[in-house]
């Protein structure tokens, strides 16, 4: 059976003045549909770079990313934007909500770009936010919410377009341990309920147990793959 996401010989280099940094070094990986994949590694190991290339936000020096056989690395910018809007969701460490928009509007933003009507998109955003426990914060701006609440808004935003893949880059990196657990529980529940593929980057070993599979990265290379149930 062909994998849902196929990563072949991915190499990425950055130039930093005179120095050339190899952020990814010949990475190969297959991801199944509906899988919760955790990419674990210390800071600077290339996790974010891998995530960005998988999301078509950056182009690799060499190699290819295929989603259902379609090459993202060869896709044109406009088609890629369209692909992200239709099939991908994003969760960031620092939430990255738009400060001027309310919770509902932030969640509805991907649908605005997709041309969904205001009534429809705001209803979907509201429903999601209520499901995530933010009934009292619908009309609040990001600055009026706690970190955990903001991250829940951002999860709702990632889910609103019913994506096939969600990318989460250190989603709990800015949260305390209690909130981290809350957020992870919500995220886990959501992805399992919807069958979405979740690719989560973290340096926190404690989060690994949520994942179906954990990929360990060191210096741009995959050093270890751990399946669920097998302790690291």
């Amino acid at each position: 059976m062909a994998a849902f996401i196929e990563i072949k010989n991915l190499t990425k280099k950055y130039r930093l003045g005179q120095e050339i940094i190899t952020a990814l070094d010949n990475v190969n990986l297959s991801i199944a549909q509906g899988e919760f994949l955790c990419i674990l590694g210390t800071s600077g190991s290339g996790k974010t770079t891998l995530l960005h290339i998988m999301a078509g936000l950056e182009k690799p020096v060499r190699g290819e990313v295929l989603v259902k056989g379609v090459s993202l690395t060869k896709m044109k910018e406009k088609d890629m934007a369209y692909f992200r809007r239709k099939h991908m969701g994003f969760i960031f460490q620092s939430y990255n909500l738009i400060p001027t928009l309310t919770a509902v509007e932030n969640v509805a933003l991907p649908l605005i770009f997709d041309g969904v009507e205001k009534k429809e998109r705001e209803k979907r955003a509201r429903d999601l936010l209520i499901q995530l426990g933010l009934k009292e914060r619908l009309k609040n701006k990001p600055t009026e919410m706690s970190g955990g609440q903001q991250q829940r808004v951002s999860i709702a935003r990632a889910l609103v377009n019913n994506p096939k893949i969600i990318f989460a880059d250190e989603p709990t990196g800015n949260l305390d341990s209690k909130t981290t657990k809350e957020i992870m529980d919500i995220l886990y529940e959501r992805v399992k309920a919807s069958g979405v593929t979740l690719i989560m980057v973290t340096h926190d070993l404690d989060l690994a147990h949520y994942a179906d599979r954990v990929i360990h990265m060191v210096d741009g290379q995959i050093t270890k793959i751990v399946e669920k149930g097998v302790s690291a």
């Binding site: 369209y82 809007r85 770009f113 041309g115």
Partner: protein, 470 residues
Amino acid sequence: MNKLDILKLAHRNLWRRKARTILTVVGVMIGTTAIVVMLSLGIGLKESQRKSMERWGDLNMIRVQQGINFDREGKPLGEAKKLDDAAVAEIKAIEGVVAVSPAYESGGEAKFGRKRGHIQLIGIDPEEMVNLEFTASLGRLLKAGDRNVMVVGSQVINNFRDEAEIRKMQRGMMFYEGPRRLERKDPGEMMDQRIAMEIRNNSNHEKKRIFNFQVVGVLEGEFKQHAYQAYAPIEDIKRMRKFMMEGTQNGGGDPRMMREIAMKTGGEVRATSSRRPMQGYDPDDYNFLLVRTEDVTKTREVSDILRERGYNTYSIADQLEGIEKTSRTIQAILGGIGGITLLVAAIGITNTMIMSIYERTKEIGIMKVIGATFQDIHAMFLAEAGLIGLMGGTIGLGLSYLVSYIINHFSRNFMSRGLPPGEEVMGISLIPPYLALFAMAFAVLIGVIAGLYPANRAVRLSPINAIRNE
């Protein structure tokens, strides 16, 4: 992304930095006001010139005169055309011509009741008078079959004085106070009166004859040229001329007229006393032809055609053209001054947008990551810039109306001084609807153009840099 959403988002983003946006809008507002007020002055100027020309004469009337045309260097162009019935027929056939009447000009001492004075009498085809768009304020115009009647201009009465007035004038008790201040007499006084015109023979000044006319109407318009003239059927004038020229050696011709022709043609005045008749002029030729056209544009077209054919034409519309050229230049200068102000405002918009893009780099990146296309980002920033233009343009237009009102209010006293009483005082600043529309569209366009560069910058921003800075 749907258009309304783009506008709403743009609007929202603008008000994040109220002070900055307001200042930028004020810039556009001042620019728009400058351009609109400047152009309104130009338009007002042109309009008031047109009005004063109209007051003086008709814009769709051409006078075809005897004599030939000259080029810029003063060299005659072609041969003089004869003004005869063939010419009348020829001109009538030109497209855009409504009516043509031949005319003789004559004048002389006249008396009515106990008053004496002078009348400048023009003989025209009585049938054509109504088509020439004369209007009578009292009585009627000339009509076919009229004989020994005249229609007088409303100022003609002011040329007549009774014995008492003449004595007063002779004693120097009446100071010349300028025609405006002179007491106006009621032109109705002449209605139905019998005017006796005393005509002298050209070669024998002792020989004179009285020609009687009955006034059947008074012409409308106090300030037009025809206000000082009287009109009579052309056949009556022909009889007068016949008497005037009886026994003239060179076959006739009013000596004044001949002198006039000589001057017009650049010839010598000597021609009047010469035994040879001046070449190309038949004393029976009409003095001039009056041609009525459909409108001002036709007046120009017909004038051009006539000049090409060698006719010597005169129309107020010709002068209007020159005046329009001048006022177009003035308008261009005034508009240019306003344009510079708006250019400065446009730079303000660009500056504001660039600053705003710097501040929102991260946000733009996020939008791109979650699915905004280049076009979406581009449209959003253009919409913001366009909105600044629209707001500045709208407020600026409102302000322009106010400024225009104030200018007109204060210039009114000053302006009305030169105008005849009863005449509507026109503002020197005019904002016609097309100018208002143009100003708004222009302000928005300027905004959008000013937004192009920043919008392109926003599009080029890398989404990665935006979200990597964590």
